[in-house]
Symmetry: C2
Subunit: 417 residues, 2 copies
């Protein structure tokens, strides 16, 4: 049973939603009714543009035009075309971003490429709290290349680089901590790395589409990210790789697949990389997933990412306020910075029964997720999330916790993505 | 203008089609009318089972069930489930095949794994006429691992291994030459490699689904293949990797993505590979493409691959006869073995204007493809191709060539896949 809401929060939510300049964008998504979806930072919901495009891709392009679609329907150029569409959301001028493969594969490419671009440097620096794949792939590439991985938290990076910087080949970080939602200083980290002569590689999985990212303006060297979180490209949507123009000439990739060849149809005996970012193409791309992602990206048509960022901060700020008023008294502790400048597009609350509470919320139509061992994670997406939904989620969680209406030892776990 | 057909071939085609026990399977595909599609060895046509499954995946699973689909709709297990479904077509018992990524990425995994399994051997043997990606990736892995690539044609392999076999880590071949359609002796090559203490890696792109492959029975070590040729899984459908059970314990992969972790949701600090073939999972798989492939594989439900092989040989044998009678007099030369035991599921004809002729055929609704510089390639798929279609293609090509009704210098090229 839901108790009466705190009147003040209700009014605040209503006012913020009424004044929301992006409210009309929610219609670009096919959200199920009666669900508060706060897991778009794990799997973005279905954009309305996707089903008709996918039907066309399957029935007309594949079914009728068949092999001719590689040229006739633009399949061949899709990895570069979709890459540029993503590039527009991360501050990358055209010709530097390619879509395809998974984030893990793109990380593998980026880290090997970085090692080749800085052959005289022995250290690979990464965040001790980086997403698992980033850590695992970094360790594997380092072992293969004879490098050493050092795990340095972003807060300690500047000091570390002052003493050890000339040994560092690449600094590999995410601008947003996937657990806490903390936003790091992309500009400062990039500048520190460059001052030390190191490259910087950003994993944008939790940033792209959620806030303005200015890769070119910051002088970033390499970046990767997935297509299925804020970009809402569908489950396991292809990832992407950004390599700054200035590195293209010397870019060496560890998996020289035929689609990255300078003359892919020439059947040449030896590999000769294509000019530009096209050399980072690997094998034949999964066209259905890739073109679904392309359709999904149209949700950003005409959208100003500065407005997205402003609304995202309004949403997370409001959720933090709800948590403070409704949940802190019940044993929840926010681990997300209250400083807007240090906050991504999520709020994470610590509670020893995070897993069970997430399950109980889902049973009531509030979809969040958890990260082991004790974080409830609420992702907001300014393109469709409302303040009212966040208040509903907070009420719901308060009621569940207050009534202890959950199984403290639930079975099973969801994926961590 | 099509001249009158050779009566005898017409009657033969009619009789063979009338006696075809697999004729009913054509209804499992949505083939466009008025098209003779002989490029299913590059991109398989659309199976009728795919559109409704994909609609369900997109609108219900993604759109409504959202993140819950990873468990609730079986997305998480899909790479292993689809891998096993492919395994059933290549003679692999369950638990040895994983679907995902591209063939190039899977080759990269397989070759690195082979190098780790034979750390004391310095040679990587591959076919000088292997598909480009196979050669490029072999060269890259060899360079990274300090190995030497030797290109030995299948005909010379046995002799080579007798003298140099104890230095060979892995022999990497395709059972079917993608240019000529020649079928190599999988059993003999595998036995020769094993006798020398080497591993064998088969690229099944042009074999899986077209003829019986018996990986387990032959004792093959590693195999890869794509999902979009004979398996008809859609453009760029995920590839697969087979690793024999006996190698799982020591299997090391070069891209240790989070989905291959023993406890993928535990967010562990270091990579610990999952037991079994699951450790060869990399990143989050492209679910739309993967589940389209899964639906496509149902075209094989209840189908005996021995019957597929028998019909395939009937088709290619008939096409060779048509070529002999109708096309050889016009300057075409078959490069596909007439010996059925040495023939895959395609016929390739040499002609100096192969590219132009392929274009002219397409203009008349006969879809074949070409491989540089001078091969016309006709793929047959016993699940839907008819003998009558092959005769139509041969007539059409004869008329085009006889009338020189083509532009000898056409522009553009199609993809080589």
């Amino acid at each position: 049973m839901t108790t009466m809401p705190t009147t003040d929060l209700t009014e605040v939510a209503a006012r913020l939603d009424a004044d929301d300049p992006l409210a009309h964008l929610r219609d670009r998504f096919l959200l199920p009714p009666d669900v508060v979806y706060l897991d778009g930072n794990s799997l973005g919901p279905l954009p309305a543009a996707v089903p008709p495009v996918l039907t066309d891709v399957v029935t007309r392009q594949w079914g009728t035009d068949l092999i001719g679609s590689w040229n006739g329907n633009g399949w061949w150029e899709a990895p570069l075309r979709v890459g540029d569409a993503i590039g527009a959301l991360i501050g990358a001028a055209p010709g530097q971003t390619v879509a395809g493969d998974s984030t893990s594969v793109q990380l593998h490419t980026a880290l090997h490429a970085a090692a080749s671009l800085r052959p005289d440097r022995a250290l690979l620096v990464t965040d001790p709290d980086h997403f698992p794949t980033d850590r695992y792939v970094a360790a594997a590439v380092a072992e293969r290349r004879g490098l050493e991985v050092l795990r340095v938290s972003p807060a300690d990076l500047s000091g570390f680089l002052r003493t050890e910087g000339d040994r560092v080949a690449v600094v590999s970080y995410s601008p947003v901590d996937f657990r806490t939602g903390e936003l790091y200083d992309m500009r400062g980290v990039t500048q520190d790395a460059h001052r030390a002569g190191a490259l910087v590689l950003w994993d944008l999985c939790h940033a792209a589409g959620a806030l303005p990212v200015e890769l070119d303006a910051l002088g970033v060297d390499l970046a990767v990210g997935c297509g299925y979180k804020f970009l809402s490209g569908g489950p396991g949507a292809p990832a992407y790789l950004y390599v700054a123009h200035r590195h293209h000439r010397d870019l060496r990739t560890p998996v020289p697949g035929w689609t990255g060849h300078a003359d892919p149809f020439g059947l040449g005996r030896d590999y000769a990389p294509a000019p530009g970012i096209a050399r980072a193409r690997i094998g034949t791309p999964p066209i259905l997933s890739l073109l679904a992602l392309e359709a999904a990206l149209t949700v950003y048509d005409g959208v100003d990412l500065a407005e997205v960022r402003a609304k995202s901060l309004s949403l997370t700020g409001f959720l933090l306020r709800c948590a403070d008023e409704l949940l802190t008294p019940l044993g929840f502790a926010s681990v997300t910075p209250s400083d807007p400048g240090r906050r991504g597009s999520q709020v994470s609350l610590r509670h020893p029964h995070a897993h069970a509470l997430t399950r109980a919320l889902a049973d009531r139509g509030v979809i969040a997720d958890m990260r082991a061992p004790d974080l409830l994670r609420f992702g907001v997406n300014a393109l469709y999330t409302t303040h009212r939904e966040l208040l509903t989620a907070a009420w719901c969680l308060r009621d569940i916790a207050a009534e202890a209406a959950y199984d403290p030892n639930p079975r099973g776990r969801g994926p961590v993505t």
